[in-house]
């Protein structure tokens, strides 16, 4: 029996995951920051939006993503911020995907299965219809 379940031969995987998380974070922050500069440049002087009353409505993921991409194409601040948000949101998902590959390379079928389950749950939470 191997006494150290998570042997420190996991080190290459840990390093890769660390870099991925950092990369996603930096990319997301840069996108949001450029969106902020654009947004404040355009409408910084106007009265602040009112968020006291909730006025959101339900729309599926594809519709929202499509509109965000359209906003990016037109160079709108909103699009850049949303894109940064998507990158932020998808960074942990990419981390799970990377773990799946790594556990596969380690020939660890139990944890390939565990990781796959998490990935399926994440996938449905993103693209499945919100009830």
């Amino acid at each position: 029996m191997d006494p150290g379940g998570e042997r420190w031969e996991m080190q290459p995987m840990a390093r890769l995951i660390g870099n991925l998380l950092r990369g996603g974070l930096v990319l997301s922050l840069l996108l949001v920051l450029s969106g902020t500069v654009l947004y404040l440049g355009n409408q910084g002087g106007r009265p602040a939006p009112d968020y006291r009353r909730f006025s959101g409505h339900t729309e599926n993921f594809a519709v929202r993503a499509g509109r965000a991409l359209e906003d990016v194409r037109r160079g709108r601040a909103r699009g850049l911020i949303l894109l940064g948000m998507f990158v932020m949101l998808l960074t942990p998902v990419a981390r799970v995907l990377l773990s799946l590959v790594e556990f596969g390379l380690h020939r660890d079928p139990l944890y390939v299965a565990v990781t796959f389950i998490v990935l399926v749950i994440l996938f449905f939470s993103l693209v499945g219809r919100a009830p």
Binding site: E6, A14, I17, G18, L21, Y39, F61, R64, V96, A130
Partner: protein, 277 residues
């Protein structure tokens, strides 16, 4: 108030929240929602949306650093993420169904609970024979201590798994990382060393939050103009906090911060009961 001023104020508040959150290890998310709802009068649904995104930010940042140092137990993290993501989806669905006043009351209760946990003294881990399920799942691991790696044993996997589902549910319902409940599950129930449970908890927070963010996004809880200052403020604040961590009296800070959290908790409950949300 002009937009730049409003954005700047929220950004500064988020910066402070991220700074103190990373110094005390309680995370910035737990004060973002009270800050936005009590301080700025923002609807709690927008507040938990912005908070949830900022929680992913701090998790990714801190996890990137800790995972390389080898404290994080990747197997435990992966296994418990099944529970936290399922719980998170349930919580996000509930957030849309429950009245906002009730969400505010639950949030207040969670704040008070976290305040209590953060001042409670830690427990010594007694030596016990190894747990067969933990062995079969190969969850036992080692963590760095000085120049060597110290081995540790994991226990009570089903109980920890169940508690993690609750942590996920609270995360999805309230837009927080639920770090306190996660650490409770891993440190107290599963018997992990404190440093391993805090870093593994942090590691899981991003994935847990991502599972509810999809539902928040579809429901329209994620308002870009509000998310933006919160996200940037928390990122800068927690980054600075992590760098100053070793130079500051964190124990005293933790005590002060838990009092603040306790008071915020009471205020959230009163506001929820008074129908002011």
């Amino acid at each position: 108030m002009p937009t730049w001023e409003w954005t700047g104020l929220i950004g500064s508040g988020a910066l402070l929240a991220g700074f103190v959150g990373s110094l005390t290890g309680l995370g910035g998310g737990i004060v973002i929602v009270p800050l936005l709802t009590l301080g700025f009068g923002v609807d709690i649904r927008y507040a938990i949306g912005a908070s949830l995104i900022s929680v992913i930010t701090t998790s990714s940042g801190a996890a990137a650093a800790y995972v390389r140092e080898g404290f994080t137990n990747l197997r435990i993290g992966m296994l418990l993420e099944i529970a936290t993501t399922l719980g998170a989806i349930g919580g996000a669905v509930l957030a849309g169904w429950l009245p906002v006043s009730l969400i505010a009351v639950v949030f207040g209760g969670m704040l008070i609970f976290s305040a209590y946990l953060s001042v409670r003294p830690g427990r010594q881990h007694p030596l016990r024979p190894p747990d067969p399920l933990a062995q079969r799942l190969r969850l036992n691991g080692t963590y760095p201590q000085g120049a060597t790696r110290q081995p540790y044993q994991v226990y009570a996997v089903p109980a920890g798994f169940g508690l993690m589902g609750v942590a996920g549910l609270l995360s999805g319902l309230l837009g927080i990382g639920s770090g306190a409940v996660k650490v409770l599950a891993m440190d107290q129930v599963m018997n992990l060393p404190f440093k391993v449970s805090t870093t593994t908890s942090n590691f899981m927070i991003g994935v847990t939050a991502a599972a509810s963010a999809g539902i928040y996004l579809q429901r329209g809880y994620l308002e870009p103009a509000l998310v933006m200052p919160v996200l940037l403020g928390v990122a800068v604040g927690s980054w600075t906090g992590a760098r100053l961590l070793v130079h500051l009296p964190t124990h005293a800070l933790r005590t002060v911060f838990s009092v603040v959290i306790f008071v915020l908790g009471l205020e959230m409950i009163l506001k929820g009961l008074g129908g002011g949300v």
